[in-house]
């Protein structure tokens, strides 16, 4: 055996050995009297710990006040407290071997942190201090404001950003998910009082989830968390009731003109579902077969056969209130129309024909296998736990995930594709130099041309029958 494989039997692919059981480590769930939800988990791979304090309000929750306000609030939170100046915070972090970041997305604001387990107590104290006693120094706010404006200008020159921003506007309309990023003028208009209002209203334990994964006992974690967070005065954030998304009808094309672009960013999307939806797993598997994995139809077609692009993929984006499905590829200018044709061909094939059994089995095995890769690291565990508890998924979600994926059938995939790969109403965004791609883009629907700032340059008039 150990001396080699003869060339005669070298052609046989070794079978998979029996699986070792996948066991998700037990986690401790506690709610403090002030309403703070806590999830604790031991992981002893490295002598560190990692955690994240989530506030269940992000930019969408405060969009009626100002676009991007939660993001700016988070950025300034880390720059000072009533007890520590900015420089003190940064030096204390270094002393603990720690990294910390505060940021906000559409649905959450978060303080994420990691450091040596031996300094977990003091790091949790600092996180708590940032959550309760941020002082919003005026000079730090002005510095962050300027840095944000400069970052926005660079975003407006970045194809992926421009494509994503335009698609969100076309899919979400008046819903705050349409607003990915503020304008410079909006950032200029932020007032310190608004940041303080966001902080007072949303940084509250009843609105928060703390997830900790680390190389020490869960009992001690709990003691440290109680010590650091028990005195945080209780309270919940006021819920918001945003308008429904746009749910566009009919295919339309949006061209964002980026003069001098030497490649075109193609992004196609439609509304889909959230993680809590009963069809979530079905859609996940359909996505995997369509374009979610390297070994997917989209990648094999437009990369491995045709060489149009380097990294095409499709993704289901699960925001908390609504989800959406996208297909993206950065392609050379000459093949924009050809790329869109193949994207829709593969999409419609998923909608028309059942997936063959072997392809289905491969995809189920992929999805269930890569799901457990998160077990291997503190980061991976944190990310899986955060997904479960932020989305209020069932307590046994991690444990049952593999079994549920393996039970999915070809009919499930077909049904999900027909329902959510909404090709007739998909919205098409292309970001590139207008002179190179406009003629190709307008083959696919009514065309509107924008500049990078979002102003309309031209709108094609729909011709009557």
């Amino acid at each position: 055996m150990a001396t080699g494989v003869s060339s005669a039997n070298r052609s046989a692919v070794p079978p998979l050995a029996p699986e070792r059981p996948v066991v998700w480590p037990p986690r401790k769930r506690v709610q403090l009297a002030n309403g703070l939800d806590i999830v604790l988990l031991e992981s002893h791979t490295i002598p560190k710990f990692t955690g994240e304090l989530f506030l269940r309000s992000g930019n969408a929750a405060v969009a009626d006040q100002a676009v991007g306000l939660a993001e700016m609030t988070a950025a300034v939170v880390r720059t000072g407290t009533s007890r520590r100046a900015s420089r003190q915070i940064e030096e204390d972090l270094r002393r603990m071997g720690a990294n910390l970041a505060a940021s906000a997305g559409a649905d959450t604001s978060a303080i994420s942190f990691e450091g040596l387990a031996e300094f977990s107590g003091p790091l949790l104290e600092l996180v708590s201090e940032l959550a309760q006693h941020a002082s919003f120094p005026a000079d730090e706010f002005e510095r962050e404001r300027r840095q944000t404006i400069e970052a926005l200008r660079i975003e407006r020159a970045t194809p992926e950003f421009l494509a994503g921003e335009r698609l969100r506007k076309t899919l979400f309309g008046d819903h705050p998910y349409a607003l990915v990023s503020p304008t410079e003028a909006q950032v200029q208009a932020y007032r310190r009082e608004e940041l303080l209002w966001v902080y007072r209203e949303h940084y509250r334990p009843g609105n928060a989830l703390l997830v900790l994964v680390g190389d020490y006992g869960a009992e001690r974690m709990l003691e440290q968390v109680e010590k650091a967070f028990a005195s945080w005065p209780g309270g919940k954030a006021r819920p918001t009731r945003p308008p429904a998304p746009l749910a566009p009808y009919g295919r339309r094309v949006y061209l964002v003109h980026l003069p001098g672009a030497v490649q075109t960013q193609v992004l196609v999307g439609c509304l889909s579902i959230t993680r809590k939806h009963p069809d979530w797993m079905r859609l996940g598997l359909a996505n995997c077969i369509y374009g979610g994995a390297f070994n997917s139809r989209l990648v094999m077609n437009i990369r491995e056969q045709k060489g149009y692009t380097y990294s095409p993929r499709s993704t289901v984006h699960a925001l908390r209130q609504h989800g959406y499905f996208t297909i993206h590829a950065a392609v050379r200018n000459e093949v924009v129309a050809a790329t869109l044709t193949e994207m829709f061909y593969e999409l419609d094939r998923m909608r028309a024909l059942p997936v063959p059994d072997d392809e289905l089995a491969d995809a189920r095995n992929y999805l269930s296998g890569v799901f457990s890769l998160g077990l291997g690291t503190q980061d991976g565990l944190l990310s899986q736990l955060s997904t479960v508890y932020l989305n209020e998924l069932p307590e046994d979600y991690l444990e049952n995930y593999r079994e549920r994926v393996r039970a999915l059938t070809s009919e499930d995939v077909l049904a999900a594709a027909r329902r959510y790969f909404n090709s007739a109403n998909a919205q098409i965004v292309v970001v590139g130099d207008r002179s190179d791609v406009e003629a190709q883009a307008k083959l696919f629907g009514e065309l509107t041309v924008y500049d990078a700032q979002g102003s309309i340059l031209e709108r094609s008039v729909e011709k009557g029958p």
Partner: protein
């Protein structure tokens, strides 16, 4: 002080392939890597970008796993795969549930033994690679800055100074014969290391490694071009157009010491005090205090590599995005003031000690992830590979921290004086095209 001991066992097969096993049965996962000791530094002249193009070809088919099969078999085993080209190594790696170990070894052995690709595959991947260069460099604000901009300014010897991603003319010139010759020369088992990390038993893994790899014939020891640099005697500067971005940017690179020397240890600690996040002297001074810049980053072998993964000339690089109302000269003057302060006053123990804590902490994190969590222990794999191929000692992963933690404030000041001299540096400025036009008007 918390330490980390990683179980590491290693052996060489009869054909010269080194095998490194690091068992850890916490989770039923295994990460497998094969590293070849060839990167873009030593790719053939007239074939810039070839090492990377070749990396793509390794996914295009081997004798028993034709095109599409390799990717399909790994994905359908429940795993991720990828490869990447570095200065001095090229890696291929997979993370899978541990029941797929034997299948992965079979696949890696098959492509080490017999790559089987044709002209059609080469044309296809040449197209893919060009789109990769467009999306990452030519159609992206600050694309390639400074990892592609700095080398031609900083270095004089082609291996260190050329375009590592490749000029399109050179990519077009690459032929199937080049692919075959490169494979034969550099992809021999005696120029590689196989790494198996995770849910495995060491002896069983060695047996499997022998079963699949030991009868792959050894190759002639590969030739390695001389990558040494002539002594630099004066500062070098260059300007590159920034086509999309609105902010001016500049990068400064100083030649870094040879790995595993006392100067290297001290330089790493100096680097931590200069570039260690928001508390690092450069970010603190230029972004937070003087507010001349909106972002700075840096490090040894930054941004395409790290302290451990180079085996030839490398630099300590600082990248500065500065505000348009300042000139490059003003920005460099503020940067120089930071450097001068370290040279004149050194770094006090109350700064060096926390920097060591941070360094140790970051080292642990790099070992566990280092490249996102999609490949568990990517960093451990990477370090073990470099310590094997460059240093012939994978156990360094457990001892290498010691040298850094022993560095004294006096040593840090000495290396600041010795290495951070204007005559020993290169500066590249990225000038936004819009600003250049305005300046000309």
């Amino acid at each position: 002080m918390s330490r980390l001991h990683i179980a590491v066992e290693s052996a060489a097969l009869k054909n010269g392939l080194r095998v490194v096993i690091s068992p850890d049965r916490t989770a039923p996962l295994v990460t497998v890597g094969v590293y070849y000791k060839i990167g873009f530094r030593l790719e053939p002249r007239g074939r810039s970008g070839f090492a990377h193009l070749f990396e793509h070809m390794m996914f295009q088919g081997s004798e028993n796993a034709p095109k599409m099969v390799h990717i399909k078999l790994i994905n359908s085993s429940g795993g991720f795969l990828n490869g990447s080209t570095h200065h001095d190594v090229t890696n291929y790696f997979e993370a899978v549930p541990s029941n797929a170990l034997e299948r992965i070894l079979w696949l890696e052995a098959d492509r080490m033994r017999a790559l089987k690709v044709d002209d059609e595959n080469l044309r296809n991947q040449r197209d893919v690679v060009k789109e990769e260069v467009l999306v990452n460099v030519l159609n992206q604000p600050y694309g390639g800055f400074p990892w592609l901009d700095l080398p031609p300014i900083a270095f004089r010897n082609w291996p260190n100074a050329h375009n590592f991603y490749g000029d399109f003319g050179d990519l077009d010139a690459a032929s199937l014969a080049d692919v075959q010759a490169f494979f034969k020369t550099y992809y021999a088992p005696n120029n590689a290391v196989l790494l198996i990390l995770g849910d495995v038993e060491a002896q069983e893994s060695f047996q499997l490694a022998r079963k699949y790899f030991e009868d792959i014939p050894a190759g002639a020891p590969p030739p390695f071009a001389d990558a040494t640099e002539p002594e630099q005697t004066e500062e070098r500067r260059g300007v590159v157009e920034e086509k999309f971005g609105t902010l001016p940017a500049l990068a400064v690179g100083y030649h870094a010491p040879k790995r595993r020397t006392p100067d290297w240890h001290a330089m790493a600690m100096l680097d931590e005090t200069l570039h260690g996040g928001r508390v690092g002297r450069i970010y603190r001074t230029l972004v937070l205090e003087k507010q001349i810049a909106v972002d700075t980053e840096g490090g040894i072998h930054y941004p395409s590599g790290n302290l451990f993964d180079y085996n030839g000339p490398a630099q300590m690089v600082t990248r500065i995005m500065y505000k348009p109302e300042y000139t490059a000269e003003q920005t460099i003057a503020e940067f120089d003031a930071v450097i001068r302060e370290v040279q004149e006053k050194g770094v006090p123990p109350q700064e060096l000690d926390p920097a060591k804590v941070k360094f140790r902490s970051d080292y642990f994190s790099m070992i566990e992830g280092g490249r996102g969590s999609y490949i568990p222990r990517y960093g451990l794999m990477h370090f073990l590979a470099c310590f094997t191929l460059f240093d012939n000692d994978p156990q360094l992963v457990n001892t290498i921290l010691d040298g850094f933690l022993e560095v004294t404030p006096a040593q840090v000041q000495e290396v600041a004086q010795k290495y951070l001299r204007p005559a020993q540096r290169a500066i590249v400025i990225r000038k936004p095209v819009a600003a250049m036009r305005k300046g000309a008007a």
